[in-house]
Symmetry: C2
Subunit: 579 residues, 2 copies
């Protein structure tokens, strides 16, 4: 999900450091467990691991000893060497290791087979090391766990050791801190703690939103609708289960069938929609459009279903059932630039609302295999580049990375702890209007093809909500918070006053609860803080007599006693500051 | 769909009149076509028909002649006689008619077989006639059409004649007028004319809502949400595709499987949800509830899918894909009366908003086969009756008509042309809380079962929208109207002034369009009237100079020139009058 924004050269260095660290790890394990069988040890996005066939799981004690041996090896600054051998020789070298033999079997005839060495340690290896172990400036072993050979539960269980390695201690510290921060913010845990949503095997990878989660979810939709109203979008509501003939016409049946769910009705096959595009094309085609009416911007919040293997689903960020802030714009070719520009304006406004301001953009250009004339691509790409240049946004051109049906722009933002997420996308499509024979009546009376623009700002609302939970660490801004204030009566004597405080705020449309539990005041305050409620309004005899409430923010900030009208005005002001 | 509110005795009389009219029709047909073979001729909800095996379809000319012969027969006041015969005799009598023979075969051994006669005409017949043909005070032949024997296309095609018959000419006139009115208001036709929605065989019985239809649809949801907020409901969002294990637990798999769609995922069977109840139970069960928190009112606008045979689907009023204003209330047994009462208050308020005030209520009481203790039923029924008595609403008790899982109340309203529709329902459920082992912590610390109340006010929103289109004949009240005003510039000189008028109203949140077509003013006005747009704002040089617009209502009412501020205030006032 989260992508880091790192220069390619640095990315390559890190990969070499981590690959090298895996060798150093394996060297240490062999010194402690001479009978261990080596298998594979790749670098990963944020570290490395190595899987060993050993007689028993590694203990924390083992890891400590391994760590010490690794530091020794690194201190010695040992040279890495790589060399090629022929297949015969390779097989001889790993004759007693069935895993390595299997790996060699998998290497196609004619491809190079290489080994790498540092000090006494030798391993079958594709290569890609640093100069010497000394370049592993910082590393840390993280954990160990069982893992099946090739990830297949029918195979033997191996023991995996996870570690991370970096070009400097400072970078590693930053990473470990981010890891710890990410764990604290894990939206799967916070979702439960804050009563937002839950998952159940009865509907794998399909969230159940509790009232508080549904509240945030619906506020996101409200917000997008607010932007749509200002930007000339129209909402439509379309069927979810459509005949396979449609998915054949749209091309989804060929290209996306594996990710679709199918239903049989009256002996015919129907697909549950994984995308809204074909229905949008049908809506467009239902009416005759004149050039004067274009662009037509059709938004559809319809629920989508996509099959994702259970191995890759993850909390809200990768689910099988979700809705998108999805819209399809049908426009004339000469309107492309204005539409993309308008979309980017709206997208930036929406991102700023959530505190995402540091946007990175990737512009993907024509691939070799494509539909549409070169003139069409020239015009579209020129338009997109001009829009991007004007936007002042930092963007990378990605030649050859566009979809076969048109160029596209993807938008990435870093969250509060620096992890980068892809959110929005805007894609031109020269293909679907052909497939659905879409037309508009041009000024000269001829029938012409509109261009289709697929676009989303927040993307999957489920995923975006998951990202937001982590971005805010559960502390939603006032306008999104499911409960905006908790009134905390100090004694039972203050109960009816608490009710009147709640009532006054509620009448203004604010979402307020009273903590009627038998807990003591401090426990109630702590509770509200844990629930990330923006405001706590403590009311005791003194506040009641003065017609006030003692106001605290969830941050701990104490605003002291304030009149209820003042509190209401303050909260409404903060709420309206959203957009 | 639509039900009439008629006293049982009158209903019975109409049935006899129509059945008798069918005999008179058959008599006339036999006189004109002696070789015609009789099949069946039942009374229907608003008339009768008779299916004949004849050599060629009936012509309008035939119908005229038949009509004349029928009037003759009625004028004579011929006695109807019914008598029983034994099976042997019956078979002999109809020996040359394979249809009647098939009917006799279908009559179980031991059941009476009867014939009826008036004048020379004799027919195998279950009975149920008026005293004489003279009692058929009014009838009309409506149409003829082909119809397969037994409705099965593998059988022979028969010729059906439709008619209607009544106890008085006045009643028939009323009916025919209603029919004509209903045809004008047919929501399937108006949906197309007004650009609200369409259907396509690619997704049978699943509406595509165009922007205008989606607008009304979403406003209905907004309105229900507004009522929910005032009435302590909480919204949830739940999965649509759930493992069959859930549908087995809820009982839907046993009782409702035929109406469900199934999907296979990872080699397991999943059901597409036809109802929200099981997910509501899971949401309730996800949190521990204390007696103090009850009732919990969970609303779910989730899309539902139900298989309906293509023969019974009808426009928006019977579809396969829809959402409901569906909610599930979990409460203590002592809260039943208050919850039902609160629901009825809200329901009456919502119905009044749409001009449905003449509510009829049916209270269905315990059936023989049921779950739950007699004490539970006693308490629930007593509570419901007390609530109904207090409500002042007209209600009928229906002993034995309750669901096996609890008593229920259904709500019926007549629309603008007098057709009665069932809209709301509220059903107690003692079963689902058992099946899902739902609990709350009672005041004494024990765990107890909550009662579940299923309830809907408007029911299926698709169906309700269809009913509303017919009820309003497409002329939605201002708050629902997709376009609230059309600005009509008289000449091109007034175009930019028209824009400024539109802008001023739009800034106030009103939905305004400009008619920029090349039509003349009168055509534009007629067009806006056909589109049922509430206000037409005509702007020419004079209006522009005065900063006004000439205001017309879609009813034709001419309000004369008005200032834009005044128009805005008038419209906002009318809109806010909704609730």
């Amino acid at each position: 999900m989260a992508r880091e924004k790192v220069a390619p050269a640095l990315l390559d260095l890190r990969k070499r450091i981590r690959h090298s660290a895996a060798h150093v790890l394996a060297e240490a394990v062999l010194r402690l467990f001479p009978n261990a069988k080596l298998t594979i040890g790749p670098p990963t996005d944020d570290g490395f691991y190595y899987d060993f066939d050993v007689e028993r799981p590694f203990t924390p004690d083992d890891l400590e000893k391994i760590d010490a041996l690794m530091r020794e090896s690194i201190k010695q600054g040992l040279r890495f060497e790589e060399w090629e051998v022929d297949r015969q020789e390779a097989i001889k070298r790993v004759a007693d290791n069935p895993y390595k033999l299997e790996i060699i079997e998998g290497i196609p005839e004619g491809e190079r087979i290489t080994f790498a060495r540092h000090a006494e340690f030798v391993d079958l290896c594709r290569g890609g090391h640093v100069w010497s172990t000394g370049e592993i400036k910082a590393f840390k072993l993280i954990s160990s766990a069982g893992a099946y050979w090739r990830g297949d539960e029918r195979n033997r269980m191996l023991q995996r050791i996870y570690g991370t390695a970096w070009e400097s201690a400072a970078e590693m510290e930053k990473h470990l801190h981010q890891l710890a921060e990410a764990e604290k913010r894990d939206h799967r845990r916070l979702g439960v703690d804050l009563g937002l949503y839950f998952f159940d095997p009865i509907a794998p990878a399909s969230p159940f939103f509790l009232p508080k989660g549904a509240h945030v979810y619906n506020r996101l939709i409200d917000y997008v609708r607010f932007l749509y109203l200002k930007n000339g979008y129209q909402e439509v509501v379309t069927p979810q289960i459509l005949n396979t003939a449609l998915w054949k016409r749209s091309g989804h049946y060929d290209a996306y069938r594996e990710n679709m769910f199918f239903v049989e009705i009256d002996d015919r096959e129907f697909g549950v929609k994984p995308m809204n595009c074909p229905a949008a094309a049908m809506i467009y085609a239902a009416t005759l459009h004149s050039y004067r009416e274009l662009p037509v911007r059709l938004a559809d919040f319809g629920r989508l279903h996509r099959y994702e293997r259970s191995g890759v689903t993850h909390g809200l960020t990768r689910v099988r059932s979700f809705s998108q802030d999805d819209a399809h714009i049908f426009c004339r070719p000469d309107q492309i630039a204005a539409e993309i520009n308008g979309f980017i304006q709206m997208l930036r406004k929406s991102y700023a609302t959530f505190g995402f301001t540091d946007i990175r953009v990737a512009l993907s250009l024509r691939p070799d295999k494509r539909v549409g004339s070169d003139e069409m691509w020239d015009r579209a790409e020129t338009a997109l580049e001009a829009v991007m240049d004007e936007s002042g946004l930092d963007y990378d051109k990605m030649p050859g990375e566009g979809a076969f049906y048109g160029p596209k722009i993807d938008f990435f933002v870093p969250d509060a702890i620096g992890r980068e997420w892809q959110l929005g996308t805007v894609q031109l499509d020269f293909s679907l209007p052909e497939r659905f024979d879409l037309e508009f009546a041009a000024e000269d009376g001829t029938r012409q093809r509109p261009v289709l623009i697929h676009r989303a700002m927040l993307g999957s609302l489920e995923r975006f909500l998951g990202i937001l939970v982590e971005h805010y660490a559960g502390a939603f801004p006032l306008w999104l918070a499911p409960v905006q204030a908790v009134v905390i009566p100090i004694t039972d004597r203050n109960a009816s006053y608490a009710e009147s405080v709640k009532g006054k705020l509620q009448d203004a449309g604010l979402r307020v609860e009273i903590d009627v539990s038998n807990e003591r005041m401090n426990a109630k305050i702590r509770n509200a803080q844990l629930q990330k409620v923006p405001y706590m309004l403590v009311v005791g005899d003194r506040e009641q007599a003065a017609g006030k409430a003692a106001v605290r923010r969830r941050t701990g900030e104490d605003l002291g006693p304030r009149g209820i009208d003042e509190i209401r005005a303050m909260m409404l002001d903060e709420e309206s500051g959203r957009a």
